[in-house]
Symmetry: C2
Subunit: 431 residues, 2 copies
């Protein structure tokens, strides 16, 4: 039985389909945790997806270096990308390989053959987003990436639909579950960074090489992507200040509690007409902010715009099912035609100077100084910063203070100098 | 100059438009706080909206009983709905009148003339949603209502897009800003309900007649709407248990703190294949839930589904600009064609017995008993409930306990009987 052009999304009705419902053939690149989850979600939500998309979604091919002889999908695994590129029945491809290469070349080849793509690969989107969006536009296909930031949290769709008519001015995100888990444990139990990281590794929450998480690189990519969705400008990594959270100590976490908040690793952008401030660093977050109470592996993205005020999207920022669910939601948006109507992502390189030099940003700071005389330190700090407040409950031998807002460059010059004495810790305060 | 059928959304190019950009004519019913905000948002975000929708949006007529001689929109105010119904240039109408009548008749008349609608009127959607959705479908127009629940929070679009392929099993919402403001003040300051309500009224956060807010009717309508979006079934008000929060005392708020959480007025639904539990009541919310920290006039909606896990949408649940912004976002979704692709709302009446009788639901309870002997009360409670835990720090002369899960009917029979003695307060615990 042949049904040619049964509908525009499905060139040929598949033979192995027993009940002759039209099907849409897709492929998955990378059959790991998330890639495997995609097949599971498609099975689990088969009926709902058929209702939404109008057809059944069929995973026809899966690219992986490995074989999966025991998987029910084992016979669909291919090792050569050309088997997917050249398969004209496949109209959409989910990329969950990670890394820039060869994912970038594969994606370009696939879109050049008229296939839409959904990716969970934040590194690729952050580094090659402009080329990928351009390639999609030239080929009249979609390149969607909701799963690349915040796992199952639909903040990118929110920005491309409900907030599309408004002007986003601020984004603050807890964008990395591993570091938030570590910070939550440090806060609850008073334990130090290294032992908490080891626990997180043992539990599978942190990678054997945790640098991308704890040094903020993962959050850096994600805030670059969110800022590009808001502004249309994709910045370069080198322009985004990124500070590790590995130096945080129990004394810092305790100080944040006494101050009335918690330490969080934030990716932030402050967007103005003439440019934006963009950075990743640990911050004191006050209890008045809903971000203060986002704990464990949860992520949250707070977005401010003049009309809507502040909204926050909260949920599981990683994990097999939430991330796979976000991939399938983007697949369904493309196949149902929803994607055609969402605000287009046409990114361009941020112009020279668009990202404000980090040193020009102004912050208030928490500063802990080792000192024999608290009053001497406070006096010196007053001379350097103008108004400062001492934090109550400091451990003996230390002076802790909160400065007024001051330019980063000026502040760092003071911290590096001898005016205050031995500065043991400096943490910026979220405003 | 005449341009007929310049595009499908704009039958005739308007004369007073100086730069001859095509325009879409809309109308507003009710020029109050939100209605006035709509004109402001459209002006403020003119460029972004043009980019998104493809045309300028022009508010051609405004229905109100009053005249507005000093408003720049004064000459567009009409007093007779037929001036809008019969104006074929108007393709979309925003309804911000409130109340069922005459808003319902107006909406039906407008949709029967081929006009799409956006409403902020939760009472109308909760009571007449089925007829309104049917009328929209029959006329091939849209009836959109994101602003009716959670002001500027885009949770309904999230449910109709990103979560559309998943199965929603739980919804818990802080859906009323007035009561959340009162509860936040009571928690922070230890003050009583009545004086806090007076303050809220003085500040304009609460109505002169606050019954709809404090008795939970507002939240009841909103949880009915959210449940209908999730299930397709609109329940009747009489089937949704609704408990006032006016009886809450500082002792309750303090007990929740000692227990490790806060009291929140929640609208909740627990959705199963064969029916759902649906209710509005004050709850003890544990600190482990992100709802615990939603404070002041903010609203939040937490949604659970098997794939995505739990997501929470947080933001300003009311107010001129956020609500007007949500109206304009729905207007833009309709005019851009996005609405055509979102999951359709085809509601029907919930079948008999779909909403589980409230008495059959199981909860854990916080119970405060006036007693001369804590040990006697604990023993009696143990006999009645099985395992109970005493709450530490109870005021003298009282025994406070937390029960295991037990059916509401059974629990209430115990509270009403003489076994425990004088039961001063009973509050359910969020699970």
């Amino acid at each position: 039985m042949f049904v040619l052009n049964f509908n525009k999304k499905c060139a040929i009705l598949c033979y192995i389909n027993p009940c002759e419902v039209p099907m849409i053939n897709i492929a998955i690149l990378g059959f790991g945790v998330v890639g495997g989850g995609i097949t599971e979600v498609i099975n689990m939500n088969k009926d709902k997806l058929r209702q939404y998309v109008g057809d059944d979604i069929y995973v026809k091919k899966i690219l992986d270096l490995r074989d999966f002889p025991d998987s029910p999908y084992g016979d669909r695994v291919v090792h050569d990308i050309s088997e997917i590129v050249n398969d004209d029945e496949i109209t959409l491809v989910c990329e969950t390989m990670g890394g820039v290469n060869p994912a970038f070349d594969f994606s370009i080849a696939l879109m050049n053959r008229g296939k839409s793509m959904v990716t969970a690969n934040k590194e690729l989107v952050a580094k090659k987003g402009i080329e990928l969006m351009n390639c999609a536009r030239e080929n009249g296909v979609h390149y969607f990436f909701e799963p690349s930031v915040g796992g199952g949290i639909p903040e990118i769709r929110g920005m491309r639909t409900s907030l599309a008519g408004d002007t986003i001015t601020e984004i603050d995100g807890i964008l990395n579950g591993t570091t938030n888990y570590i910070l939550t444990r440090m806060k609850r139990e008073g334990v130090d960074f290294t032992s908490t990281l080891k626990d997180a590794q043992r539990l599978g929450y942190a990678e054997a090489n945790p640098a991308a998480d704890v040094d903020g690189l993962d959050a850096q990519r994600k805030i670059m992507i969110l800022t590009a969705v808001a502004t249309g400008y994709l910045c370069e990594e080198k322009d985004v200040y990124c500070e590790t959270m590995t130096k945080l100590t129990p004394a810092d976490i305790d100080a944040a509690k006494r101050w009335g908040g918690a330490v969080k690793l934030l990716g932030s952008s402050r967007i103005r007409e003439d440019g934006c401030a963009l950075y990743v660093a640990p911050f004191f977050v006050p209890e008045a902010s809903p971000l203060c109470f986002v704990e464990d592996v949860y992520n949250a993205i707070r977005i401010v715009s003049p009309v809507t005020g502040d909204v926050m999207f909260y949920g599981r920022g990683a994990g097999r099912m939430p991330t796979a669910g976000a991939v399938v939601a983007d697949v369904a948006a493309i196949l149902s035609g929803l994607a055609d109507k969402e605000k287009k992502c046409q990114w361009q390189a941020a112009p020279e100077g668009y990202v404000k030099p980090f040193g020009e940003n102004k912050f208030s700071y928490y500063v802990r100084v080792k000192t024999d005389s608290v009053s001497d330190t406070l006096e010196a700090a007053g001379l350097a910063f103008g108004a400062v407040k001492a934090l109550d409950g400091s451990p003996a031998g230390f002076c802790e203070l909160i400065t007024d807002e001051i330019a980063e460059n000026t502040a760092q010059a003071v911290f590096a100098g001898e005016a205050l004495g031995v500065v043991e810790s400096v943490i910026r305060i979220l405003k």
